[in-house]
């Protein structure tokens, strides 16, 4: 038995990609299948240096199609398998992810968003929200955690493996280049030492016993003879997803109960939004914020309640309205105007959000 990667609490100051390597090790991931792409590369680099010490596996595949499908193979074998990707790699990854979604295969994928579509801009971006939540030819039955700190990168990665194997929906950590490359203090820990119950993996193929004689064979398929067969599979998944949504949806609010302006942001931009609310409150402006942690499923009811108590809504994101489109159905019928502060592929500072918020409040007559 290989040694456990972490014992006790380990305080560290490290880059997000290194945090992710420790997180996947601590989560009990057995194997990573990966293909190089910035900004997730250092995750692979740390994994390849650390994995063998703890009896874990790695394979560098020929592309992201292969990495995604090999991750599926690892999961079918009964191992906690994961991959990490970004940008155009995330595009290629959608084909295996569509298969995983339809066949309820618990793959874990770490996405380090980068500016689209091809190359050069690899730090600030939230342009892979649509792709990660709804990419592929399926219905988006996925769990997507949008992290905003290294501590969250660590803890939600631990959680992602549990959620994937418990609910059997593909589960994502949606980070970005900024989180991957940034250094931040963090406390690493072994989840079981903390009392976390870790969901075990189990084989879906290659079960004990002679198939056809001692047991039925496992025949996993993605092909259907009748439209009704496909319909039943999709509707069963839809039902499971809807029932799980209340358990899965996570969000954070700050000063949202008495705000006139509700700022909605996710991921690393939510940090700027939180800081902006503090600036605005110091100025005497009544701002609050709502941050969805899960983009899929979304905490729709809570978002609607928070929005319903405000007069104005501001969506801030490093994309051109991908978050806004995601949340708008939850706000349907509300009269509060929704403003977008869209900075595709750019970083967003607290001061920029605060200035935009003050402008909107003042022009609507709710300012000082």
């Amino acid at each position: 038995m290989a040694e456990r990667p972490l014992t006790g609490e380990r305080r560290a100051f490290m880059a997000g990609n290194e945090v992710l390597a420790w997180a996947t090790l601590a989560a009990g991931a057995d194997v990573m299948y990966g293909y190089p792409i910035t900004p997730q590369n250092e995750l692979m680099h740390y994994w390849t240096r650390l994995a063998h010490r703890f009896g874990r596996e790695f394979l560098q595949t020929e592309d992201e199609l292969s990495a995604g499908f090999a991750t599926i193979g690892g999961v079918l074998a009964g191992k906690k398998a994961f991959t990490a990707t970004a940008g155009p790699g995330n595009v290629l990854m959608q084909e295996p992810l569509s298969m995983a979604e339809m066949m309820r295969l618990p793959v874990v994928v770490i996405v380090a968003q980068r500016g689209g579509p091809s190359t050069g801009t690899v730090i600030y971006s939230q342009q892979e929200l649509n792709l990660t939540c709804f990419g592929g030819n399926g219905e988006g039955f996925r769990v997507v955690y949008s992290t905003s700190s290294h501590q969250e990168l660590f803890e939600y990665t631990l959680k992602a493996f549990n959620i994937a194997w418990k609910y059997r929906f593909p589960t994502f950590i949606l980070g970005d280049g900024y989180q991957s490359k940034m250094y931040e203090p963090i406390i690493l820990f072994d989840p079981e030492e903390r009392g976390w119950e870790m969901v075990p993996a189990r084989p879906l193929l290659g079960l004990p016993g002679r198939p056809g004689e001692e047991r039925e064979p496992v025949h996993l398929r993605n092909t259907f003879n009748l439209e009704e067969e496909l319909y039943e599979v999709v509707m069963a998944a839809a039902g499971d997803y809807a029932r799980a949504a209340a358990d899965l949806a996570e969000y954070v609010t700050f000063r949202a109960d008495d705000c006139e302006l509700l700022i909605v942001a996710h991921g690393v931009v939510a940090r700027a939004a939180l800081a902006a609310v503090k600036i605005l409150r110091q100025q005497g402006l009544k701002a609050g914020y709502f941050r969805p942690i899960t983009l899929r499923p979304l905490a729709e009811k809570e978002l609607r309640e928070a929005a319903g108590g405000a007069r104005l809504i501001l969506v801030a994101e490093s994309a051109y309205g991908q978050l806004e489109r995601l949340i708008k159905p939850s706000l349907y019928g509300l009269e509060q105007p929704v403003h977008g502060y869209f900075r595709p592929g750019l970083g967003i500072t607290p001061e920029e959000i605060a200035a935009e918020a003050a402008k909107i409040l003042n022009s609507a007559g709710y300012g000082l």
Binding site: D30, V31, Y33, E57, L59, T61, E62, D63, L65, S66, A67, G68, F69, A70, T71, I72, G73, G74, V75, L76, A77, G78, K79, A81, E95, P96, M99, P203, L205, G206, L207, G209, R210, P211, G212, E213, P217, V218, H219, L220, R221, N222, T223
Partner: protein
């Protein structure tokens, strides 16, 4: 002690799913019979994983009393790579057509062979895309008429037919097993598949068997013409035999 008659079908086949779903005259049933016989002779039923691709090969998803996974077009090799890497005690067979192996999944074939993955790959070469209605495949012969080469494949415009086993031979390191069989020679085909499986069991490396196959539905041939095309046209271009032992 009772004496059992030799079964009409391989023991590893799943009788509940027979008769199978392939067209009359299709070669898939014969290739799968050769595979079933090899599996029986090696007694692999309880440690084999059978994986099929997209195209007519997918109709084999419930063909055997063997744990099976149906994947996407061309993606059977990476799925099995991911599985075999973490469960090396399992014996894995990828079953696919020429389109999956040599066109949409070509990068996976090239790289799995180059890495000498411990996989057994069986490719049915019927010279066209059958399930989609008879379009040109990488293996379509010069001059052969298909839905996308209605006047015959012109090598100048559409390239020459891909020689799959020869391609693998040029890439795979020492230790690989590579052969081309045909449904016209069943015992030979079964022996090639059996040697490929033994190769994997013994941990020697990548093993690859292409089988020439028939598609009277899309060839639009009767029995005699089907046999002629297989035995004369295809076997003339694609040389049957072991390339590496």
């Amino acid at each position: 002690m009772s004496v059992q008659a030799r079964p009409a079908i391989p023991r590893s086949w799943r009788p509940e799913t027979k008769p199978h779903k392939f067209c009359p005259g299709c070669g898939h049933g014969l290739i799968l019979k050769a595979l079933g016989m090899a599996v029986d002779e090696l007694d692999l039923q309880d440690r084999l994983i059978f994986a099929c691709d997209i195209g007519c090969s997918l109709l084999a998803w419930d063909f055997f009393n063997i744990d099976s996974i149906h994947t996407h077009h061309g993606r059977t090799l990476p799925v099995l790579t991911g599985l075999k890497r973490v469960r090396p005690e399992l014996i894995v067979v990828a079953y696919m057509g020429d389109g999956g192996a040599y066109a949409i999944g070509a990068q996976h074939l090239v790289n799995a062979a180059a890495r000498n993955e411990f996989l057994t790959v069986i490719v049915a070469n019927n010279s066209l895309y059958a399930m989609t209605g008879g379009q040109m495949a990488p293996t379509t012969l010069p001059g052969q008429k298909t839905e996308t080469t209605p006047y015959g494949r012109e090598v100048k415009a559409a390239g020459a037919p891909v020689l799959g086993p020869e391609l693998v031979d040029s890439i795979a390191p020492t230790g690989a097993y590579i052969a081309r069989g045909t449904v016209a020679s069943m015992i030979q085909l079964k022996n090639f598949i059996k040697k490929a499986l033994v190769h994997q069991i013994e941990g020697k490396g990548f093993s690859f068997v292409e089988s020439l196959s028939t598609c009277p539905t899309n060839w639009r041939t009767n029995a005699a013409e089907t046999w002629h095309f297989l035995e004369k046209e295809m076997s003339g271009y694609f040389k049957v035999g072991e390339i590496r032992q």
